[in-house]
Amino acid sequence: MSADNNSKPVLETRNLSVRYGKVEALRATSISLRAGEIVTVIGPNGAGKSSLLNAIMGALPSEGQAEGEVLYQGQDVSHHAIELRLGKGLALVPEKRELFTTMTVEDNLVLGAYRRRKAGWSYRDGLEGIYAVFPRLKERRHQLAGTMSGGERQMVAIGRALMSDPKVLMLDEPSLGLAPRVMAEVFQVISHLRDTGVATLLIEQNSRAALKVSDYGYVLEVGDVTLEGKASELARNPRVIEAYLGAKH
């Protein structure tokens, strides 16, 4: 772990709640992550994991209502529009990828940098960085995103998010629907992100793989954080093993 425990969190939620009409999806959740850290949130389907990420990004569907604070580098951004949060350094790779399927891989990536306009920076530099991480995307850069395999789409989605130069990258079920070999590849990329100083907030059904790459973890059950701790400790916790890791081994 590159960050020591005294350094300030780059992202923090305080009593963040999400409700859809009368249904409460997330209850007063407080989590935090530091630069260069990978934090995972595990838990069963419908525990409010996706709502947590969408609320942090400001990307809840219109019937969803978030309450509580989202602190980015100490500043409350909970009333900012998505564009502003993106500009500050938050990026979300959603569960459904939400790619521009009828456009080329390269166009998808270029649009990822839509908000990133700085003097002396051209999207070509950004593309080179992404192609270095995902060489396969370079080979397929002129292919339509909709014609790619599941794993490649996930790479496009992660690459598109990285093009905005985020300080906090949020991944919603990155391994969903991927073959085990492809999944391993995606997790390898995630663990490499740590070296770039990006903080990663990872949501996974595959708790075993998630805890393996993570530094810290939270267990979210029916809208509440029921357990938290170092990822290595969570992986040894009997309750976690029984509920989330048990079945196979």
Binding site: I82, E83, G87, P94, L99, F100, M103, V110, R115
Partner: protein, 349 residues
């Protein structure tokens, strides 16, 4: 019918089809980006034609009054929404300053320009550009006032708002321009003949302008970041939001472009037809039929549909002139039947 009549009708049909194609493109653009059926398109045809006509007859282009009025309204809406959010964040000073410039100062500037030049003596291209400088911001302001506050509403609600905006603008058009129609000067007196078929310079200009606009639109969507952003919004709204293409920014771009295309369509038909404040609606509806052929989603199909509508109209006006409009609008029934049989359901979003 001998060949020369056939050829003349074809020329007529393709010329009108080119204008419908511009309108259909604008409708496809606005619908795919914002899910709004852009009924007020027809008003922009009238605004464009009548403003150019006013400039050519040395009258003050009274559309500027509307620009000034809606500009004030837009500023008030933006100020209101900034004040409402004051609980959470400080007033966005820079944003409000831009709003003052765009919505209050710019219309005054246009008003000043209108007074300080002799527009009658200018070349027609300059008159058309000046008209665009009035109508394009008008389109953007209309989006800001009427549609942006409810951008997430359902297609049906947006359609109803669209009907409301259409009637409001129609009334304004009558108030501003009066019930009389006008024509503008011809683009050119030049004409030639291809074999037995006389070719009017007017048709050539219309086809050339429409063709190059379609080419420019293609380049815009294919090459520029803003064009790609509009396409991205049409393909996947959530994905577009996540990369920071705001729904409202895309909507404003789409409305600005659509207003411009409507205006140009109006100026293209005005030399041959008397255009009144309410002429545009029926013309725009024909563009709408063409856009339906493209499923409100495909630009090439919409353009093909526009040619079909133009040709159908031209030949039916020869054989069954009284039923011309009926025949054109009946086209929508087989098209809808065909589309519902060939495409699956559930593509509402």
């Amino acid at each position: 019918m001998d060949f020369s009549i056939f050829a003349i009708l074809a020329q007529d049909g393709v010329t009108n089809g080119a204008v419908y194609a511009l309108l259909a493109m604008a409708l496809v653009l606005v619908f795919s980006v914002t899910r709004i059926i852009f009924l007020p398109q027809g008003e922009f045809i009238g605004f464009g034609a009548l403003t150019v006509a006013a400039l050519q007859s040395s009258q003050f282009p009274r559309l500027i009054w509307l620009l000034i009025g809606i500009g004030v309204l837009t500023f008030l809406v933006e100020l209101g929404s900034a004040l409402r959010q004051r609980r959470y964040k400080p007033l966005p000073r820079r944003l409000l300053m831009w709003s003052v410039i765009e919505n209050l100062i710019y219309p005054q500037f246009i008003w000043l320009l209108a007074h300080s030049f002799d527009w009658q003596g200018m070349p027609m291209a300059v008159q058309i550009l000046f008209t665009l400088a009035i109508t394009v911001p008008l389109g953007i302001m209309i989006y800001r006032v009427a549609f942006q506050p409810m951008a997430e509403a359902s297609v049906l609600v947006l359609l109803i708002v669209s009907v409301g905006v259409h009637f409001a603008l129609l009334g304004m058009g009558l108030f501003i321009f009066g019930p009389e129609g006008s024509t503008t000067h011809a683009f050119t007196e030049w004409s030639t003949a291809l074999g037995e078929m006389p070719v009017s310079g007017q048709s050539v200009v219309v086809m050339a302008v429409a063709g190059s606009l379609i080419g420019l639109l293609y380049l815009f969507f294919d090459r520029t970041l803003y064009g790609k952003a509009l396409r991205a919004t049409a393909v996947n709204r959530k994905g577009a939001q996540l990369v920071g293409i705001g729904t409202s920014q895309a909507g404003r771009m789409a409305f600005g472009l659509a207003a411009g295309l409507g205006t140009l369509a109006g100026t293209l038909i005005a030399p041959l037809n008397t255009v009144g404040y309410d002429t545009g609606f029926v013309v725009a509806l024909k563009g709408f039929v063409a856009a339906i052929v493209g499923g409100l989603a495909s630009y090439p199909l919409a353009a093909a549909g526009a040619l079909l509508v133009g040709l159908l109209e031209s030949y039916s006006s020869y054989w069954a002139s009284a039923y011309k409009e009926v025949i054109v609008f009946t086209l929508i029934i087989p098209v809808l039947a065909w589309r519902s049989l060939t495409s699956g359901h559930g593509d509402e979003e």
